[in-house]
């Protein structure tokens, strides 16, 4: 099948057996790949009520038709599962070179099923597939594991591995690859750990067939040319995602001390410019990327190397914890990556704990003696280790802020900054209604990348609560995740403003199927509705209440910074939801109506 490697590999870990099946043509036509494949297999194959860490859950790893191709950004890999962090849908996107290698090994998806009786790693070299003993690797941190494999097998192999966080099934454990790329959110690493899979080790030497070779090469070159000609290329490569730190600080979107404010007095110490000058040693790109946002850094203070930090980590491990030193952020980043926990959820959880400590809800008796003041560097480093190893106070924080605050009570739920159990990423949304709605309705919980609408708030008026804003959020939610579906990266469109229509002939030449962006957005709409139905299927009473933001954003206006005194009223929050549900074709409780399901042709999928 043109545009596809051709096979789906199923690994039954319980029995230690493999099956390869042809990538189904109808699934490829209707769901294309990546996140589309992920939610299709998840809904169909994981039974209702499955324990996220039990044998019935599956970890579905998918590439898309532009992965591994001569198309900018074709290095994105989707990891879909039922999330241990939230009990809902998780679709984590990982950059690097893994997804390209999957395709060169002839695989469009790898589906991990069951639970292995002992620690193993999955070894794939083209058609040679083995489960190998990983007892000697169990307990080891991710960098060491990757280094061992690379030294033994060579640089052509691509490695994805969990650290102690995943082995210990920390709710927000991540999967690491290429010394610094992660499938980060929702606890995909915990699912891999529950299955006793330490790593996946990949090598492939096959090609990927395309429908029209000449048209593909021409369309691919046109995309690269557009990226290289883009006005913002040089600046973007210099700073990557950290370019937004100072902007966020100026507009009050930089999470500060557990999102109690959006501007940080020490922000200059964590600006992208500061980082580039002080610690960046090279640019590090994902597969096929002409505009690498990855910055690889060396901290002299800690004598350590780390990929990043990215903006999200700077926000959560920096300003959100009262840290004004980029080297501290880099070191916290390294510890999280190496131990295998998500920097966003970890930083957010530590921020919540620090606020509890500040308010006297936690004392040193609760925190294993740690002085959890905002800005306490050593306490942060120690806590990261405790979370990943599930030691002492780290056990509670490793549950995520929703469960932790429910256990502690005493009003701490009000400053547990999450939606649907996923810790909010690094945009403070005190008075930014489109971004607030984006977080409220995001398909995995409070994550930014489906609908990065904060710039739109600033453009049209941040407090506006109007149908146009809601429409913008929905459009972004249908459109942006399509990059995850086709196996690529959205940042060439977002940051270099290249014409998205340039992807249309490329995708057609590769797959042989013409799809306009209108067609692709329809697929995006279907996928969005499927993830919503997965949440509803897995959680009794799922509905409107699950879409409410943290109370902080409608009750607790910042007392400092650019958003001082600014808040979105609860009635406006509800108006946003009313408009959102109406435009989505959902009922007043936020569930897709029968008519919507029929219009999207999803009757069979959700039956």
């Amino acid at each position: 099948m043109n545009g596809y490697a051709g096979k789906i590999l199923r690994v039954n870990l319980t029995t230690g057996t493999f099956t390869k099946e042809p990538t189904p043509a109808d699934v490829a036509r209707d769901f294309i790949g990546g996140r589309g494949f992920g939610i299709y297999f998840l809904l169909k194959e994981v039974p209702k009520g499955a324990d996220p860490l039990g044998p019935e859950n599956k970890l579905i790893i998918s590439s898309g038709p532009i992965s591994g191709m001569m198309i900018p950004g074709g290095g994105k890999c989707d990891w879909t599962t039922k999330a241990p962090l939230t009990g809902g849908y998780a679709g984590a996107s990982m950059g690097g070179h893994f997804t390209a290698e999957m395709r060169y090994a002839g695989l469009d998806s790898i589906i991990l099923e069951g639970i292995s009786p002992k620690p193993v790693y999955l070894f794939i070299d083209n058609d040679r597939i083995e489960l190998r003993d990983a007892s000697g690797l169990w307990g080891k941190a991710t960098f060491e594991v990757e280094k061992q494999f690379k030294e033994k097998l060579g640089e052509e192999y691509q490695i994805a591995t969990i650290g102690p966080g995943g082995e210990n099934m920390v709710s927000y454990a991540c999967i690491n690859h290429d010394y610094g790329r992660q499938a980060g959110r929702g606890g995909v690493g915990a699912v891999m750990g529950s299955k006793k899979v330490k790593a996946i080790v990949l090598h492939g030497t096959k090609s990927i067939p395309v429908a029209d070779m000449q048209a593909y090469r021409k369309a691919g070159m046109a995309l690269y040319k557009a990226c290289k000609d883009a006005e913002g290329l040089k600046e973007w490569i210099r700073y990557g995602t950290t370019t937004v730190v100072d902007w966020c600080n100026q507009v009050g979107a930089l999470p500060t001390r557990n999102f109690s404010a959006g501007s940080f007095e020490g922000a200059e110490g964590i600006y992208g410019k500061t980082m580039r000058e002080k610690i960046v040693i090279t640019d590090k790109g994902c597969f096929g990327c002409p505009s690498p946002c990855g910055k690889y850094s060396r901290s002299k203070k800690y004598n350590s190397y780390v990929e990043g930090p990215e903006y999200e980590t700077i926000g959560l491990m920096g300003s959100n914890l009262g840290i004004d030193d980029i080297e501290v952020v880099a070191q916290a980043n390294l510890l999280c990556d190496d131990l295998g926990i998500d920097t966003i959820s970890a930083g957010n959880s530590i921020g919540w704990a620090m606020e509890c400590y500040q308010k006297g809800i936690f004392t040193k008796k609760d925190t294993d003696g740690l002085d959890l003041k905002f800005g306490n560097v050593e306490a942060i480093f120690t806590l990261i280790g405790k979370i990943a190893r599930k030691e002492g106070f780290g056990v509670l924080l490793g549950e995520g802020v929703k469960r932790a605050s429910k256990k502690i009570g005493q009003g701490t739920e009000k400053f547990a900054i999450h939606v649907k159990g996923m810790e909010q990423s690094a945009y403070a949304t005190h008075n930014a209604t489109a971004m607030l709605l984006a977080y409220m309705t995001c398909d995995v919980g409070a994550h930014h990348n489906r609908s990065w609408a904060i710039t739109y708030d600033l453009q049209v008026g941040r407090d506006l609560v109007v149908p146009e804003k809601v429409a913008r959020v929905i459009w972004l939610q249908n459109f942006r995740p399509m990059f995850d579906v086709i196996g690529g990266c959205r940042l060439q469109w977002v940051e270099l403003s290249i014409d998205r229509d340039l992807y249309v002939p490329a995708l057609e030449a590769i797959t042989g199927i013409h799809r306009s962006w209108e067609d692709l957005e329809k697929v995006g709409d279907r996928i969005w509705n499927m993830t919503r139905m997965f949440w509803a299927r897995e959680n009794d009473g799922f509905g409107r209440e699950w879409d409410l933001p943290p109370a902080r954003f409608y009750e607790d206006a910042p007392t400092t910074g650019a958003t001082k005194g600014q808040i979105t009223k609860l009635e406006d929050v509800n108006r946003l939801l009313d408009m959102y549900y109406e435009q989505r074709g959902w009922d007043s409780n936020g569930l897709p109506t029968l008519e919507t399901i029929e219009n999207l042709g999803l009757e069979a999928v959700v039956a």
């Binding site: 040319k225 090279t282 990327c289």
Partner: protein, 135 residues
Amino acid sequence: MRLYVDSTKCSGCNACRVACSLNLFDENNPKKSALVIEPHFPSPGMYTVKVCTQCGDCAKVCPTEAIKQDEKGAYYVDFAECNLCEACVPECPEGVMFIRAELADTAWKCNLCGDCVNVCGTSALWIAEIETATA
């Protein structure tokens, strides 16, 4: 003319290698490209890129004269005439003369097509006259 590289600008994305394999073999397969990218991670955190300098040492030792020179002065492998004897591989001072019998029934090398330069977003690669270029 030859291909030049500034390794300090390389981000390891491998776009050049896919473009190269498409040019040489009409395949999406960076293992069949004529550039080498060696990552050095986690430390010292850099890439080393190796490219053909068009020195012609490979052509001098080819017993079947399969390595020819085109009008630009670039040496290329005439796939039909290569007998996989491997004489060329050890002669290459840069390590960018390739034979992998499991992947192709011919040796291959850079033919100076320039596609790698066209996809490199960080301007790590360029083509220039051998005499006048500065690395």
